[in-house]
């Protein structure tokens, strides 16, 4: 008779018991090892990344792109639009290369291709900058004229809440870059920064030399509030001409046609021009308010303009609905007395006023992609063209512009 000894049971159970005891620690050990391996792998990846980074450390490449569909309810010419769909007016592609010559010195080149310029490649920024240890930074080369709050990143739609900076203000000065230099100094307070910048140089637009540009701006920000003031002046020398469509007849068929004629309207003989502006913005992460007001004055008959806008926006997760009210008004209409056909044309082109209202939505659809929808209605042209050369016959007294746009940074 075989009696099962308790020990027998125990012996049989022993391997099982051992396994049972060992298993959790074995599993734990495996987990620990795996975690350790994962950590090491991660470190290797990070080291590799750092190593690759150190090889390309001196160079950084970035880019941005905007694609826009813009159409209007008439052909008054607001923002260069018409009733036909326009995909190129506000579409653009930009590449930027930054080369760090040293920790404090770098060269920056930004190449732009814009639909409105037939996608010709142009450098908007091309400069060398150096930062001294005392916080002073100098830059030289081709730079943006820092007249407005959004001047520095005028083409980087992604960095702007609205579909476009209000044309009433941003369209009032016909040049955006200059060749020259600037000096800036950051004063660091406990919780805010004051930046003082002085700039000088020259530019050119069509047939006008924009000489002796000199100016300064101050900006204070604590990243919620931003306050800014700017003053600049220049000497304008050259002529202002416009292409005018003259109604005519086709000599062979006798049908009515239009002839483009280049007409010199004004000559500028070293006329002094001044620009002053103030701006403020508030952004607490949810509520957004931006305002700018500017005044530009040019000696002689060229338009003196006051302009301004207020934008309010409110972020709801990825959506930022906004509204804008803006105005543009020539201030020196009485200097353009109408005595003959030529002076009537000058008055029709350089007198202008309008008020514009925009309602729009920014949708941060992806990490680096914003979609924007905007409807802008402009009216109050008074007895002017509204400031649109294509409306000098005052055919239209208001216009609505619809925009669908995407902005990407990469």
């Amino acid at each position: 008779m075989h009696i099962r000894h308790p020990l027998h049971f125990a012996l049989k159970a022993l391997p099982l018991a051992i396994t049972a005891v060992l298993l959790p620690s074995q599993v734990l050990a495996d987990e620990a090892t795996e975690e350790r391996i994962a950590q090491l792998e991660q470190q290797v990846r990070d080291l590799q990344k750092q190593q690759t980074a150190s090889l390309t450390d001196s160079f950084t490449f970035n880019g941005f792109m905007s694609g826009a569909y813009v159409t209007a309810d008439n052909n008054s010419g607001y923002l260069g639009t018409s009733t036909s769909a326009d995909f190129s007016e506000e579409s653009k592609l930009g590449f930027q290369a930054t080369f760090s010559i040293s920790d404090q010195t770098q060269a920056v080149m930004q190449l732009m291709m814009k639909g409105e310029n037939d996608w010709d490649v142009e450098a908007e920024w091309a400069y060398v900058s150096h930062r001294f240890n005392n916080g002073v930074q100098i830059r030289g080369g081709k730079l943006r004229v820092p007249l407005f709050m959004y001047s520095d990143y005028l083409d980087v739609g992604y960095a702007q809440p609205f579909a476009r900076p209000p044309e009433e203000v941003y369209g009032a000065v016909p040049f955006t870059t200059y060749i020259g230099g600037d000096v800036s100094y950051d004063v660091e307070f406990d919780d805010s920064t004051l930046t003082i910048q002085a700039f000088g140089g020259e530019s050119e637009e069509d047939n006008t030399d924009i000489k002796n540009i000199i100016g300064a701006n101050v900006m204070w920000t604590d990243e919620t509030w931003t306050l800014r003031a700017v003053y600049g002046q220049t000497t304008l020398d050259g002529s202002i001409s416009r292409t005018i469509k003259i109604p005519s007849q086709d000599p062979s068929s006798g049908l009515p046609i239009e002839i483009d004629a280049q007409l010199t309207l004004l000559t500028l003989d070293n006329e002094k021009a001044t620009f002053s502006g103030v701006g403020a913005s508030y952004d607490n992460g949810q509520f957004l308010a931006i305002t700018e007001w500017t005044r530009s004055e040019v000696d002689g008959k060229y338009t003196d303009v006051d302009s301004g806008y207020v934008t309010l926006g409110y972020r709801i997760n990825a959506f930022t609905p906004y509204i804008t009210a803006a105005y543009y008004e020539s201030q020196d209409d009485n200097e353009r007395v109408v005595v003959d056909a030529q002076s009537a044309l000058i008055a029709a082109i350089f007198n202008g006023q309008r008020t514009a209202y925009s309602a729009g939505l920014r949708w941060d659809a992806l990490d680096n992609l914003a979609l924007k929808f905007d409807v802008t209605y402009a009216n109050d042209f008074g007895d002017t063209s509204g400031g649109f050369q294509s409306n000098i016959l005052q055919q239209y007294d208001d216009v609505t512009v619809y925009t669908v746009k995407f902005d990407v940074v990469f």
Binding site: N133, A159, T193, V409
Partner: protein, 131 residues
């Protein structure tokens, strides 16, 4: 109505307490920094000599850190750095893929600062700011 309100209040309280606290870390020998110093360092302002590391986009600790320290949402931060980059004023900090990568990087460099979730803390690094 009162019930709904208390449920909302309760779930808010739960959501807030469930939110892990993010902490700014430095190497063991590093000294504490103020909230405004941290804000400036992570926005690339001032003459700070610290090397700053961020966690990658999409990491919850990153969003929490910025909502507390720089006051910027993910998209605002992206817009902020596009402004800096495309005006040649600065480049965003290097990013690291995980809390453990952050710890090993910070521990190895006495000049570096970063942030992690408090739950990932160990004694290889020192908390220099609790925002």
């Amino acid at each position: 109505m009162k019930n709904i309100l208390s449920i909302i209040a309760l779930s808010l309280a739960v959501a807030m307490s469930a939110e892990a606290a993010v902490v700014v870390i430095g190497a063991p020998g590093a000294s504490d920094i103020s909230a405004s110093e941290a804000k400036k360092a992570f926005l690339g302002k001032g003459a700070s000599s610290a090397t700053v590391y961020e966690l990658e986009e999409g990491n919850p600790a990153r969003s929490e850190f910025h909502s507390k320290v720089t006051g910027k949402s993910d998209s605002q931060l992206k817009a902020f750095w596009s402004k800096q980059v495309f005006t040649g004023k600065g480049n965003p900090p290097a990013t690291l893929s995980s809390a453990s990568a952050m710890k090993s990087t910070i521990a190895a460099n006495p000049n570096a600062i970063g942030y992690i979730d408090e739950a990932d803390l160990d004694d290889t690094v020192k908390v220099i700011l609790k925002p």
